[in-house]
């Protein structure tokens, strides 16, 4: 596959299995355009988190609602759109999972992971009335290294806890 402008779109059921399906589909595209194993992992995880977000928070796990997944390939980027049929949300309202008071929260890390693993991440109102997550990563052959790739600046800054 060459990184010319291409568009792929699927409509998924609000079902746990859609998370795996979406991840698998985007992984195949990512591999085909030349992302390495680590970048594929980051893209797959981000798609997974986006679809989990749509499944759980956006569509409230209601089976009559759909999850809209689209992938755009341009010369430079792989752009992924995940849209739900919920009520939408604002990024600034999402609690920071790294804040001390949220470290023991059992949820709320999906958005953080997408922002960390992808080069760009935005939330906009979707045409279905819900949220549309838009995330992208620079295609390796487009030149330079991806911001959050192996040579990027996403290296964890927290030092590992030492063994007792």
């Amino acid at each position: 596959m060459t990184p010319e402008a291409k568009h792929l779109e699927v409509i998924l059921d609000t079902h746990v299995e859609s998370v795996n399906l979406a991840e698998e589909m985007c992984l195949r595209v990512a591999e085909a355009v030349g992302f390495d194993e680590d970048e594929c992992y980051r893209i797959g995880m981000s798609v997974r988190e986006g679809v989990i977000n749509a499944f759980h928070y956006g569509n409230q796990e209601r089976p009559e609602k759909k999850i809209h997944l689209a992938v755009d390939l341009t010369q430079e980027k792989m752009i992924i759109h995940v849209m739900d049929e919920g009520r939408g949300f604002r990024l600034e309202d999402v609690p920071d999972p790294l804040a001390q008071e949220n470290l023991l929260s059992t949820s709320g890390r999906g958005i953080f992971l997408m922002r960390t693993f992808m080069d760009e991440f935005h939330v906009v109102p979707g045409r279905t009335g819900g949220a549309e997550l838009i995330m992208s990563k620079k295609i390796p052959s487009a030149g330079g290294n991806s911001r959050n790739g192996n040579h990027g600046d996403s290296k964890p800054d927290a030092a590992p806890k030492q063994e007792a």
Partner: protein, 115 residues
């Protein structure tokens, strides 16, 4: 094929849960939750999760680890982690959960830390 396998064994006063596969939304997270809850119901509160064969955790799996940590701590017990793979290690670092969990690379050292 199940996403996750869990096997429990006793080493001294500690129950080690050997996990293998993916801790992710659905079956994997549910199995981990069930396994920890069942141990707590039998009074076992010294739990060591061996993640040596877990190569994938998503946000749901991370949530389950934290949930297990809190549930054990609420029973005055301790839940610790052993043998993190690189991906899991990186994930716990970027989410700052390394500052929450005690993490070990050696089973003997981990077991002795409960004594």
């Amino acid at each position: 094929m199940p996403a996750l396998f869990a096997t429990c064994r006793e080493v001294g006063p500690v129950t080690i849960i050997d996990l293998s596969g993916k801790i992710s939304l659905g079956e994997g997270s549910a199995l981990l939750r069930r396994t920890i809850r069942e141990l707590l119901e039998t009074g076992q509160t010294r739990i060591l999760l061996n993640l040596g064969d877990v190569n994938y955790i998503d946000s749901s799996g991370i949530g389950e680890l934290v949930s297990g940590f809190t549930a054990v701590r609420n029973r005055n017990g301790e839940l610790k982690l052993l043998n993190l793979t690189k991906k899991v290690n990186d994930l716990l670092q970027i989410t700052k959960l390394f500052t929450v969990f005690d993490v070990y690379t050696d089973e003997g050292t981990a077991v002795r830390s409960y004594l």
